[in-house]
Symmetry: C2
Subunit: 131 residues, 2 copies
């Protein structure tokens, strides 16, 4: 009976850990920028991503890049602790400022939800650094 209880407790903590991990939101945003706004857009995005990662505990990564061969093609790796962290990010003044000031600069936008192939590694690295 005692062993059953221990095994149940171990199983419960495994489930809880796995539920916690799968709550994480991972996304690659694929954004095309009108070329005349490119430098201005990159400066605004740089500021927004820095502030978000710094002040929001639920923002694990906002890592912006652009394609070297096609520089108006921007990609952002975004990792949030859970959907709630993402929803609350959307309401912050720095995100609102980014969204409104860059609206006219964006030619197209695709938000692609991703799953990590190895949940043990990188998001944990980001998370640990923020603790």
């Amino acid at each position: 009976m005692k062993h059953c209880l221990i095994i149940t407790l171990i199983l419960l903590s495994c489930y809880s850990l796995s539920a916690q991990k799968s709550k994480m939101m991972i996304r690659i945003s694929e954004i095309e920028i009108h070329s005349k706004y490119l430098e201005e857009y990159k400066a605004i995005l740089r500021e927004e991503s820095r502030v978000s990662v710094k002040v929001e505990p639920g923002v694990i990564s906002i890592y912006p890049m652009y394609q070297k061969e096609n520089q108006t093609q921007v990609r952002i790796l975004e990792i949030y602790a859970d959907r709630q962290a993402y929803e609350s990010h959307l309401k912050t003044p720095h995100f609102q400022k980014y969204k409104t000031t860059t609206l006219k600069m964006v030619k197209s936008l695709k938000l692609i939800d991703m799953a990590a192939i190895d949940e043990e590694t990188m998001p944990e690295i980001f998370r640990k650094l923020k603790e």
Copy 2:
């Protein structure tokens, strides 16, 4: 004269820092996998990326993901300290094993060179953790 020397030294160290950062190789690999091999492929990639990040100091990140809506579409964020680190990664036994065992599983492969919009942030985070 003394001030000129100090200013020159400051400028030189700025250039050196910037050269060091711009040597970094960032890439998003876009890989489509034949669906019948998907689980097997993910297991091999998981192992390869874990080992690379763990044992190779120049491998800053190999972070593999797949699209939730189209699970055979795999994306990997790869960050290497410089081209030499990348070249030496290609020669490791774990990369060679990954490459040869997954060759038949890969339907298409695009290697897209990227530049970071904010070089100060994430790659530094990865790098610090490996030190």
